[in-house]
Structures are given as C-alpha cells and as structure tokens.
Symmetry: C2
Subunit: 313 residues, 2 copies
C-alpha cells in the first residue's frame, strides 16, 4: 500500500494525546501553544536518519518512532524542563509500506502519551532516498531556572544516572550479526527519557550543570566542560557500566558509546543514591584546569572526546 | 573543502542576530526563549528538500537559504504572529563544498536579520543522498488572538495580497531551459514573507480567517474552507495575476501554482487597497454551500484543488 499523507495526518489527529496546553494542533499554518505563567520555552530539534541513526533491518518501526521522540524528550529532561508538544517532519520513500509508517507513528505516540505530549504538527514529503525524520520538542521551565551546560564550577561533583554503554554494546552485537530480542535490549531499542529525574534535579536545585548522554560520556562531558570553562577528572572504577544480554559492557563503550539518554550533571553537594527511581553514581570532580582525565588505579590519562558516530562504523 | 560541522556552528553563533527573547541559543541541549507576557507560542516546521523544493542547478545557495526561512516566516505571518527564533536541521552530503553551505547560511541569516529572528539551534548530520533542510520557526501572538483557518463565515469577503503565479511561472521558464537572472524573478528566488501585513490584519481585527498561499490558491483556499466548514466563489477576472519577466502569467498558474507566500484571508467588511505597503485584492465570497467555484463571465465551474507538486513535474 503506498503512503497516503492525508490518512497519516488524519491518524495523528485522531490518535495523539490532547494536551490542554495545545490550543491549536495539526490543521493550521502554525500550532498554538499556551506556556504556563512564569515559564520560559524550551525548543530542541533532532534528526533520525535511516542509515545514520537506525537501520530498517535492525530496528522495528515502533523502536524507530520511540527512539526518534526520545532524542527530543531527553534534551528537555537535560534542561530540567517539562515537554508540551512534539512536531514531526517526515520524508518517506514512495516504496515504503503504509504499515511501516503506522507502526512508527504508534511507537512515537505511545511514548508521547506517557509524558502527556501532543503531536501538534510537522511536515511530510516524499524522500528521494531513505527515511528521514526530524523531531522537534517544545517544553517549558520556570523562568531563569533552566539547568544549562555552563553552570559547572571547580570542585563540583560529577554524577551520571543509570548505566552507560548499553546502547552501543547492542549495536556492536548487531554489527557482528547477532539476532536480538528487542525486549532484552531495551536500553537501545526503547530508551527512557529521564524527564522526572531532570525535573527533580532542577526543582531541588541539585544540578549546577546538566547534559544528556546522547553522543557518549567523553563527548558530552567535553561539551559540558567547554561551556562551563572547566576541566574534569573521572574515575574509571566509578563508571556505572551497563549489563546487556547478561554481559557486562566493555569500559570503552561506556566511556564513548552514545544514545544511552542518561543524564550527566554536576552538583556542589553529595546527592541521594536514587532520585525519581533512577540510580545516580558519582564519577568524578570538576577541575579548574581544562581537559578531561581518566583516573584508573595509579594511572591518570587524558580522555579524548570520541564523537559518537552512530551506525556509520 | 569538506563540510566542517564545528565551523558551521561557530559561524552561526557569530553571525546570527541576537534577539533579546532568546535567553540561550546554540550550545545547550535546548534553546531557551522568553515569550512576551500575555502571548501564546506559535510553532511551524517546513522541509526544504533538494529535488523537491529546489535544484542546485537552478537555485543559488543564497536563494535556497532565503526560501527555506521564508516558508517558516510565512506561516507565522498567516497567524498574525511575530517570529522570535528559527531552528535549522540540516543534512548535507559529504561531497558538498563548504562554500555552498556558507552562502546558504548567509541567505538564511540575511532574511532572519531583517525580522530580528535569531537562529537559535538545530541539528546537523551527513546525508546519504541529497541536501535536506528542515526549518522550524517559533513566534508569538497575543493570547486568543491567532488568526486561524477556521474563522471564515458565509458572506465573508475573500482577499489575497500581492499577485499570484509568479513563482510557478518562473519554475516553468526554468523547466523549458531558460537561463534567468534571479534579480528579475524575485517572486520565486527571494519571496518576502508578509509579517507586517499579517500582524496588522490581526491587530485591526480585519481577518476572520487566514492562510498563506504556499501550495497554490486552489489548494490553500480549500484548506481554509475545509477548516471553516464553508465553501467559496471566486471571480476569475479579479485574481491578481503576476507579471514576471515582463510576461503576464497564465491564469492557471495563478490559480494552482504554489510558493507565492502571499496571504489569503477572509473579512466581514471591505478592506483598504493596501496595508503595510502590500496591495490587497478582493477575489470572491465565502458561501454556506461547500465546494469552491470559479466565476468566469457567465460560466461557473467547480475549482478543484490541484495540490502543488513543487518541482516534481
């Protein structure tokens, strides 16, 4: 069945959660959103491109839809914000079965519903090549309270939520030909954006700076340190390395693998072991001296940001 | 010179207008925007895809950048809103010269500057095929005052700004192999979003419903009528047909050609011939009976929405 744009839009209008903050959703030149009084607006956009962020032979359409929205929600979480509405620009090859699109939308809307996010607009087009999605998420945060990347100060402790490397390890297994049951590898196929955690870290004024781990710890910690004008020392032993498919992930993947969508933040004080049900681990300290160093027993070596290359390797 | 993502982002940070409404631009997980008190937020997203919306052999990079942002600004205009910030998701083939990207950004930022719009974020990726841009524009409008498509009532007069068919006629000329000087065909290469006009039509409570003419008059009037639950009668003689390259455009192109980015609106009363320097033409009336009809002398025939197919024909 060829793609039918009208039926796609009709389905989204019918199935999407209705948020009371969305005054006008799909069906006009713009969406109209109402922001809570005393709040600022958060906006983030993220591509999900076939061959770069997902592969049709590896990822079910539900997983692609879920991960697409997770990318945006995770950015809202990293500011300590609350999401309101999502917008989806979708370019699809003519040969794509309608059922793929249906399941993609279902995966996306099911995650949206959990966070009371309305799919309030977007654009559709034919793609001359592969599937291209661009997700925009709009949220809000009390005025002046967004947790920026630039707030880290020398002496701050560095924390990370959950565990790291699980998503990248799953990609490795697929690359070496493994057939995986997505339900056993949810860190990769159905990652959970840390909205409640991010929100509490802001409300309780715990986080001095925050970023989500989408490109890998080494890269995202570099971003945070660059924007704050500081350096960091982290301890290899302290990194909360993921276990996927009963195997403990290699430290290198935990340091450099992307798409875990955990929160990386700094704090002036010790923090509880768990907030909003998510375990938190202290992994190091912010330093005045620039550069990021990994302490491993007696050794101290420079940690270079190895930008996450998605599926390109 | 291969594309350098860091230098692209650095250039945008350096060159983009700084809007006082943008508290945090590029360089964090989300942009943070401050919305004027008593206002709602407008959001629109639009693709600009190579081969669908533009061709590298026809369009200079400056024109592609200008038109990309015009698509978003025009949607804000059609709500009677004011733009605040733009976000650009850009997927580029590795072979693309850096100079193309520089000029594209220059074209986009130069239009942005004119409307005090900050380029406040986005995403970049390598494209496996052609150039893909997705533009998001965020704006504001006083609470409850957005001009929707759904406000037209039987008896309302129908107006259009400027002239129609100029953009489509230019595409026709290029398709038949004509080499054009873009400066003589600005309706297509450098269209002007009608922000000031849209704003005044709202402030003065003139427009009861509004849409921008991006897909062609027949299609956009159909959208407006569908959302309002009404029909329309328009007069062929009244359509303000464009003149491009000294040639008066064919009526068919004025009725069905897209990308003119004029405003189509309904009003309960007569309106001035010109608002915000833009000529306005009354072209028909809203009817209780559904369907859109074109009156041409004694003939009255049904006008079918011929969805604009961009460059695909």
């Amino acid at each position: 069945v060829p793609l039918n744009e009208k039926s796609l839009i009709a389905r989204i209008r019918r199935q999407s959660t209705a948020s009371r903050r969305v005054i006008q959703g799909i069906g006009d030149d713009c969406a109209v959103l109402r922001i809570p009084r005393g709040h600022e607006v958060l906006v983030t956009t993220d591509f999900s491109l076939e061959g770069v962020h997902f592969r049709r032979e590896w990822h079910s359409p539900q997983s692609v839809g879920h991960r697409c929205l997770t990318r945006g929600l995770s950015d809202i979480a990293a500011m300590g914000g609350k999401p309101i509405a999502a917008f989806l620009s979708l370019a699809l090859p003519r040969s794509l079965p309608q059922s793929w699109v249906d399941k993609f939308i279902r995966g996306l809307l099911s995650l949206a519903k959990r966070f009371d996010v309305q799919l309030a607009g977007g654009d559709t087009a034919g793609s001359p090549g592969k599937i291209l999605a661009d997700i925009i998420v709009v949220g809000s945060v009390p005025t002046g309270k967004a947790v920026l990347r630039s707030g880290a100060r020398p002496g701050d402790r560095i924390f990370v939520s959950g565990s790291l490397g699980g998503s990248a390890a799953t990609v490795r297994q697929m690359m070496s030909g493994g057939k995986l049951n997505p339900l056993n590898f949810t860190a990769h196929f159905f990652p959970q954006p840390r909205i409640a955690l991010g929100s509490q870290l802001r409300e309780k004024s715990i986080a001095s700076a925050m970023i989500d781990v989408s490109d890998g710890l080494s890269t995202d910690l570099t971003h945070l340190c660059d924007e704050s004008g500081v350096g960091a020392e982290i301890s290899a032993d302290a990194i909360p390395v993921a276990t996927v498919g009963k195997v403990v992930v290699n430290l290198d993947l935990a340091l450099h693998g992307g798409e875990d969508y955990e929160l990386l933040f700094t704090a002036r004080q010790p923090v509880p072991n768990r907030i909003a049900g998510v375990p938190l681990t202290e992994i190091g300290r912010v330093t005045r001296k620039k550069g990021i160093f990994l302490i491993s027993g007696q050794r101290r070596k420079r940690l270079t940001a190895k930008g996450f290359e998605h599926l390109s390797s």
